[in-house]
Each structure stands twice: as structure tokens, then as C-alpha cells.
Symmetry: C2
Amino acid sequence: MSETLKEIGEPATKEAKQALVVFTPSGRRGRFPVGTPVLKAARSLGVDIDSVCGGRGICGRCQIQPEIGDFAKHGISSRAENVSPGNEVEARYAKKRGMKADRRLSCQSLVQGDLVVDVPADSQVHKQVVRKRAEVRDIELDPAMRLHYVEVEEPDMHNPTGDLERLIAALKSQWSLTDLECDLRTLQGLQQALRKGEWKVTVAVHRGQVITAIWPGFQGNAYGMAVDVGSTTIAAHLCDLQTGEVLASSGVMNPQIRFGEDLMSRVSYVMMNPGGDRAMTAAVRDALNTLTEAVAEEAGIDRTLILNATFVGNPIMHHLLLGMDPTELGGAPFALAANSGMTLWATELELNINQDGRVYVLPCIAGHVGADTAGVILSEQPHLAEDITLVVDVGTNAEIVLGNKQRLLACSSPTGPAFEGAQISCGQRAAPGAIERVRIDPETLEPRFKVIGSDLWSDEPGFAAETKKTGVTGVCGSGIIEVLAEMFLAGLLLTDGTINGEMAAKTPRIQPDGRTFSYLLHEGDGKGDGEPELRITQNDVRAIQLGKAALYAGIRLLMDRLGVEQVERIMLAGAFGSHIDVKYAMILGMIPDCPLEKVHSAGNAAGTGARIALLNQKTRDDIESVVKKVEKIETAVEAKFQEHFVQAMGIPHTTAVFPHLAEAVELPAPSVKAAPEGDEDGGGRRRRRRRS
Amino acid sequence: MSETLKEIGEPATKEAKQALVVFTPSGRRGRFPVGTPVLKAARSLGVDIDSVCGGRGICGRCQIQPEIGDFAKHGISSRAENVSPGNEVEARYAKKRGMKADRRLSCQSLVQGDLVVDVPADSQVHKQVVRKRAEVRDIELDPAMRLHYVEVEEPDMHNPTGDLERLIAALKSQWSLTDLECDLRTLQGLQQALRKGEWKVTVAVHRGQVITAIWPGFQGNAYGMAVDVGSTTIAAHLCDLQTGEVLASSGVMNPQIRFGEDLMSRVSYVMMNPGGDRAMTAAVRDALNTLTEAVAEEAGIDRTLILNATFVGNPIMHHLLLGMDPTELGGAPFALAANSGMTLWATELELNINQDGRVYVLPCIAGHVGADTAGVILSEQPHLAEDITLVVDVGTNAEIVLGNKQRLLACSSPTGPAFEGAQISCGQRAAPGAIERVRIDPETLEPRFKVIGSDLWSDEPGFAAETKKTGVTGVCGSGIIEVLAEMFLAGLLLTDGTINGEMAAKTPRIQPDGRTFSYLLHEGDGKGDGEPELRITQNDVRAIQLGKAALYAGIRLLMDRLGVEQVERIMLAGAFGSHIDVKYAMILGMIPDCPLEKVHSAGNAAGTGARIALLNQKTRDDIESVVKKVEKIETAVEAKFQEHFVQAMGIPHTTAVFPHLAEAVELPAPSVKAAPEGDEDGGGRRRRRRRS
């Protein structure tokens, strides 16, 4: 028996026989009088066991597993008879809701002798919600909205307190909740709920402070919604606030697209159309309600049980969601109306969840770095890392975060829409039929590719049949990255980004195109209305070069500020980041050199950040304080940015070296074409673009 | 020079010449370097000087008066040249807004030498708002909603904080306001206001916590509304929150009357008509908006400058105003939905004041003792009294408060509608043409009276001409009290309330009326459709007896509980209390014996309480804590109440003595008629009635 573990519990009395109880996995132990409910013993030791009904055998959340046997390491002989047999309450619960044979309700089980009790993960209040990726921490469940079942004293005309005041008193005595307030709308239904529930009700309490909903009797389900308001799509996850589980996910197009494809065109719309901001606010809120309906239906739940929602979005989406005119974000100094996180009533956003549901909108960081980046930070936790960590969320604008637990820097860089297939002659959005993978044979210079919707390479048998339905319609962002990188590796593309016309001698796919050359990727079917011819033109290369140079320059600027020459870990966030092969991104010089095994795709990290803020209320305070400490860099006014940008136009870079990449890939020697082309869209013509 | 007054101020330095400044009336004094603004000197000494603009010479609230001369008691020779001459800013203010010749703006006046400075009452933040009645304390101005003019830093893209965060920082540095929040709706207009005002704005801050409104530039006006929601009439006072002055008062009929004349009939309506509570809530809120328009128009102000409103009302009005079903208040145990005071958004009550205006609803005390009684306590302050103080608010129910600074008790007693002229054969509401004063000659037994609308007695010349327009149409509450009391003094009414038939021998005005008698008060014009005949019947007397016995019994019950046999001070609140002659009320035994000079009419004390809560935020906390400590007595279930009630049926009382009253009035000896009348509506048939 370990002497280091502290033994506490009920004080020994002459009358009461004491028993030793050890809880696993925590190892907490104490002596308790025979007859003590196991739940009570656990609580007095600070063992984390959930309960919504407060020990009345209704909710079933406090299940434990008595471990029977001799446990030398605990010094306990834990026998079956050392816990009371199941009573009627427990039998009723098991019959109604089902319970595993070896499980017991800890509130109904009494200590009868020495006992080892296991608390399964699903019975813990602060359970870990597991994330699939190995490189990130799990989420500790601690939702802002909690349910409490409570028995309220009936009114007494000799001591005429209000029903609300008696409810508050009951929540204090039964749940140790103090200084509670109550929403007026909830109060309007309070008297009926208390009487219908015969003075037993379940209440939802927001952040331990405000009673936001009330139901007669026992109500064990509470849901939350984590929403990423992107400029193109709005995505929502419906979560069970008791388990942390994602019950449904859905996405809709952002209907603001009809006001403008990208963010800047939406801001222009507002500037030119008085009331345009209100129209866009109404549009996004409508879409949110459609989405709410969709996830509630998918999960088969009543949307009034959605009690909490969290939102992330870039600054313009953030402002439009909140009904704030985004005009100021359209020009320097890019002033946010507010940058702090906000807790609001759902009704303030006209969101059709529970009428007193609460909404939390994550904080913005700067005029170009929004609540979406705050979500990315919450998901990827660079502020907790030992390693110098780079997190990049690539869109029309790229948001870049760099640093570790000591310092964290952030900026936004205007990468333009090329990575999403726009401004590329053969570009298209990622959809079935789009080329997403490309390989070029270094000898024959012949390409092969994969399209979305098929697992076959284009040179494999059956490819034509499998892609007959979709056809080969264009090249999406990841396909563009790969074809350019492969062209570079094959010598078709020079360091300065010129398509090498000299290679026309070696392959008919290099073809003159005015004063420049292009690479024929796919012949098409030769009919004008059928499968198109897909070729990579010099202009396509220039568009990607502009984007990747802007991204690299932004990263490099942060590295300068942080005083580092190397990053130790890279996370690529966003839809684009999830689909590109990081090796090709590095070959093109989108990201700086780094061991390839240290580069990960983070998926929709912004949306994950919203989910973390939904499931764990403390992370809201965390992110607010992290965001305050982030050093914000405005690339638009940094002289050094232009310099870095010009240097970064080369592939992978005009001057920087990529030693880790060179270990994995055989990079061609630096090459340049003799004369620069004056007629191309070079690095000079630039304007700020927003992520769309 | 007094050595007891502490001298503080800026620390003396070798360079700066120091001057002694004394502020009156506070007597605070200190030494300051020559050149210090007088406002700054005052603030550093804690002298109470107002300022909205923060010392920029815009608001004119910091005016002071330099006192010129030799002040031996201060040891100062205060010369004209010891304060700097008026500068341009001051001249501009004086030209634009006007300023008395001897006044100066303290923010623009610099100390040049020893000085005596008077701070006039209207320049104090915490000015006293004078109440007309000598027996109550003045109100110290300290409104929940305050205006602050502030200069905000412009956005800087190198330090990209939100406009809100910079506003909050400015309010912290310029006004020492910390931990401020901001309403979303206010935030939605923030950016525009800041730019329109060129980074100078005025904000309204609620209770030092929430920014609730914002205006570009300087805005010096803020208004509030104190509302008494009575079951018959709703009355509002519009107040200037900077001066405490009442700018406009108005009243409307409570439109809920169409659902039921008195409170119980309205509760019945709700019970019998699903949704009836919502209809009544909508009706009262509509009326409130009509009233808001009316007072804003009367005062000539924009209703969006009404930033705060306070409400009192009985429990049923309180619940209906708040949108809470009053059904539970219709029967035992008379459970309130909530009894605490509530701070709400005006929009939650659909009140058309400023969109982010705040509303405070005073707390209720018990199921029959509402926020109106809380208002009465705030106005009459029995909880601060040394004397045993009785406060009575008479309506269909009477609310009774008894006690002093040690203990305070409250109850409600079902007095019925007789005091308001209902259930009285000749009764009517107080309106022109109603008899309100009555005298009966003890010799001739002839009556004379006054009607509302004329100052003449009915036996004075010109009475007929002056009352020709209104006629003599009935007897209002105060008239009923007087005629019964005069009948008693003249021997026409016996101690047990019987109209003395034996007196028919002495006057033709005593006339048989079935088995009882009546007293002919006014002959009328003899035409059925003209001026009616007005007589006091035995049933009329019984109705008043029931009401006054209930009132007295409630008071007596509280006296028992408090353990006193005498009250030392009486306040009569409410419209009825304002109009009755307290002597007659005591002759009838409505209130217990007390020196007549200690009985006062408090007017609409509930409404005054609302005004106090509007003008002084601390009183809200005060009343919440007083209300918690009040001992609540439920008369309906007190056995002793019935006993007291029966004893109190006599005039003035069957057993109690009235020594103080007897000193002022010659009371007849106790008398009884031989046989009780079995056919009359005696004390047995009773039901709880609500004030209407």
C-alpha cells in the first residue's frame, strides 16, 4: 500500500464501521462509513464523476464499475458483497435506459466494505474528447452550458419568496451554484415548468451564471453548434454537450456570394449600396438558420435543445454576421469595430436555436486576421508549443501564425485566388472531374494524373471508363501545385518561373504561345463543347508565383521578426491545406524548408477551434488572452515585405536554400532564362485581396 | 485657520509657487502649484464637481464662483487676480450657452494665488433634488445612466485594436471606468459615430458597467422615465438625469380595464382565455409607448434620449408588464414568479425609448404586496425612521407597512372598492361634480358640501352658478369618509354603524328605507335624467365599515407582531390618501389613534419611489436589501385577523380608544342599537379582493 497517497474521508466514529475505497484511474482513496453512497465518496475525494440528476438515479451519468478481486497494489480485497446490491431505482433505470451488466449507478450503490471502483471515461464530467490527429491534444469536455436537475421548494405564503428565488436557492444548495441570474424569457415560462414538473425541473445554466432554459422534470440532452462562417461556405458541427460527440455536420454555400464572389467585392458592394451590409447580414443569418435546421434534422433532435453556438470567421464575415458595417475593413488602417470575443444571445443574431441560447463569437486578431485565425490557434496550439511552429491557413488571403510558447506573431498575406483555381486558364474549384494529382515522367516528359472521383491514374486501365461520367474538366488548386512542381523537377520550368521553350525540342507538349510557351497537360476530346484541352500557360505560372511569393514573404517577415532562420513544425490549415501534398508545396516554395515529417495538414482548423470553444468554456478565456498577446504584423506597410516578395518569386526561391527538402527530393540546379519578359504580369502590379 | 481641516494637494516643489485653495460649502482645502486648473484642484480634494466633457470647456457643468474678499475664517485673502482671466474656450461657451457674470468654468480657470471657491449646488454631481414635503429627505442625484464625453485614439494598423477596445481604453484613462462592456446594437453604430465625431464621442454608461449609447461629438442631455403602472391609471414622470428635474408628467388609463375593471377580474380573464395574459401585456406596453410619446412631446425632447426607466406596480401589474402569467397570484399560496428587482433592456418590454435603454423594475415583497409598495418604502423611508411609522397605501387592497429602522413588517388587506366610490349607492370616481367635502350641522343636522371643480361650499352664494356645468353627480371616496364621519359626530350614525332611525324625529333627512334608514345628502333636481338624488344608505355604511375594518385589522395585526400598542407617525399614500382629511379617516377608525400632526399624506408615494430609483442608483440596492428583510404577513391565513376585523367594525372602533383624536375632536359616547340586523351584509361574507 502506497504511503504517498493521501487518505481522506469521513471522520472515523466509534459507531460507524469504516471501509477503504480506492477509485481508479485517479488513484484517489479514502475511508468512509459503511452505507456511504459511492457517488458521495467520490465527490468528497474530488473524483471526477458526472451527474445531471444530482444522485437521484435518473440520468445514469454516474455509472461506475466495482472491481472485484484482491488488489495488492491498493492493499484491498475488493469483494462483490462490499457494495450494496442493486435497488429498485437502479433496476428502473436499467430497464428504461439499459445498462451494462458490470456497471452500477454510483449514486445508488452503497459502500459495504473495502472497494476498488473504476470510473469509466464516459462517466467523467471532464472527459477527454479524442481528436484523430496525433500531433494535437484532446479536448477536455467542459461546456459553457450545463444541465442541472433540481428539486425546488414549494411556495409558502408565510415566507413569500418568488418561484425564481426558490429555484436559485435550490441550485445553490443542490449544485453549489451561486449568484445566478435568469433571462426574462426563461422566467416567463418558469412557473408553468415548476408546476408541470411537480417542483422538479431541469435547468440549463450558462457559464455557471445565468439560467437560460428550464424544462419540467428530467431533461438530459443539451446540444451545441460550432460554426465556421467562410466567405464561400458556411460549415456547422452539431455536438452533444454531454459527450462532446459530433452528431451531425453540414455546410451550405454562403449566400453572400450573390453580392460578390470575394470579400473585397462584398465590401465594395456595401460601399456602393446603402443598406448593402444589412442585406448581407440578413443573407448569412438566413443561411445559418437553414444550416441549423439541417443539422438538427440530421441528428434527429429538437433545435430548441441547441443551447449554445460558437462562431469563427474572417473579419469581414465576423462583422457581417454581427450586423456591423465592414466598410472600415476595406481600406487602411483596416479598423475592426471590436476585436474581443463576444458572448451574445442567439436572438441578437436572429439564430433559431433555443430562444435563450447563448452564442460565443471568437475574438479577431487584426483587420486582416480574424476569428477564424483565433480558431486555428485554438486548434493547433502554437502558443503551447516548444518548437517554432508555423501555422498557415491558405485562401485568397493567407493567415500566417508563427511562434511558440514564448512569442506568437500573426499576419495576413494577399495570396490571391490562384490557389483555388481562379485566374488559372485551366483552373477550377475542387469538384469531380478536376485534376488533383499530377506526375510528369522526367524522361518522356509525359504527364499522368488523377481526377477527383476516381482512384486511378490516367495511365491505368479503366481510367476512361471510371471518369466517363465526370470527364476531365479542369485542374483544381492541388493539381496546379503538383503540375508546376513536377514541371520544375522535370526541367520544364526554370527557377525564375519561365516555361522552358528549349524543351520544345524534347517533347511536343511544350508549345509556343505567342512570345512564351505552354505545357499541354491534357488534350481533351477535341470538340469545343466536350472535354476541354488543358494546358499550363506562362500566365498560369505567374499567377501561382505571385500567390506563393506573397505567402512565403509573409512567413519570412514573421521569421525575421521572431529572429529565426528555420521553422521546426508546419501546420497547413483550411480546405486547400488539407488537399495539397506538402512536398509539392515546399518544392514550389510556398512554405519554408522544414523536415517533411514535421509538416502536417490540420484540416478545417478554424472550425475545430469553434468546436473546442464550444466544448470547453475555459478555452474561450484562453484564446482571448492569447489573442491579446499575439504580435500583429501588417504586411501592407512593411517595406521588407516587397523585398521578400521579389526574392520569393523564384522556384522554390531565388536565394533561400531547402536542405531538408533536398534530402527528400532531387531538386534541379538553379537555372534562369537569359532575358526577362517585359510583357508578363510580374511582381510589380499588386493589390490587396481578401480570402474568398 | 482651523487646524482640524486637513490640508492636502500637490506636493510642494522648489520651483512651483503654491497657493491655498478652499472650496465651499464643503470646506475642503489644499495647496496647489500656481497654474493648476480649479477643476483639477477640486477633484484631487474629492470636492464634488460635475463634468460631462472631462474638462474641455464644452458641457458647462463644472461652473464655480470665485469668492472675492478677505476670509478670516479661512485665513485667506481671495483676490480677483488670484484666478486666471477667462480664456477663449470659456468665452465661446458663455456666448453659445450663456453663463452668469460671477460664474466661471472651473476647468478653464487656473489658480493664480490663494482662493476661496464656491461650488454652487447645480454644479455638483451628487446634487440634492429637493422634495416639497418637509417630512421626507431630499434625493441625492446619482443616476444609473451617466454621460461621458471622451476622445478616442485613432486606429493604428501597427497596433490593430478594435474601435471598441480603444473607446474602452479612453473611458478608462479619461473617466476611470473599468471592465466596461458594450451592447451589440450600440457597437453596430460605433464606427460611424467615432468618424462622424472625429474621434470625439459622448457615451452613455449604465451603472458604470455597460456602454449603452453613443453619439458623435458632445451630447449633454440624458433623460429618464419613472412609471407607476396602476391597475386603473398608468402615470409617468420624465426626468432630466443631469438635474433631477421633472420635465413632464402624464397619465393614461390602463387599457387592461377592457379585460376587467379590477385585478381579480383580469386574473380570471387570463384563467378563462388562453393567451389573455399576452393580450393584456401587449395592451399595457402599448399604453406605455403612448405615454412615452406624450411625455417626450410635452418636454420637447427626442425619445431616443430617454435612456433609463423605472417601474413600480402591484404584483399583477408587475407580472403582466413583464410578460409573466399572473394566474398563480389569483389563489393561495399567491406565488410570485420572481420577487427580486430586475434590470432589463427596454426592448425586452418593447418600450420605445433609446434602443439600448435600460429598465429597472422594483422588487415585489409578497404575492399581495408589490413593487408599488417597494416604491412607497423608498419614498417614505420607514426603514430609516426612529419612530414607529405606519405607511398605508389604500386602494381596493390596502398595502400596509409598519415599523422603523429596527424592524419592518408588511401586509396587504382586502379593503374592497368602497373607498373608491364603488359599491356605494351614490358613489362615483373622483371627477368634477363629485362631492368631496361634507359638513353636517350638529344642531340642524343639515349638510353642506363642496364638489370637485368648485371652491365654494354648497350653502355659499354663487355655488349653483359655479357648479351648473358639472352638476352634483355623486360622492367620491373622500366625500363618503367625511359624510359618514360627520353623521357619526352628529349622532346620526351609531357606534355599530347603524343609521339612527330615532333621529328621523329631529330631521326629515333621516328616512326609513325598508327595515333600515338612510340620510338624504342632496335632493337632486327631481328629474330622472338630471341631477340625481344622493343618499347614504345602511348598505353604503356597511360597505365602508367592511373596508375600514379590513384596513384597521391589517394594521392591528402588524402592530401585534411588532409588539406595539401605538404608532408614532402615519403616512397615507396613494390618490385616496392624498385627498382624504386624515381627521375624518381617524374618526371612522380607518387608522389607529395617533397625534393628528403626525399624520401626513404622501401623495403618489409609489411613483415617487420609482423616481427615486431612477435618480439614485444606490437606492435600487437599498430597496432590494430592505425588501428582503421586511417581515411579510399573509392576512388571509391569520386567525387573529378575523378577530381584529370584527372588533374594527365599530366606529371608530368597538373596543380601541382614540385619546389623541379625542383631544382634537369631540367624539360621541359609544352607542349601540338594541337589536342587530340579520339581513345586512355583515362581516361574515368576505372574499379576497385586489386593489384596482
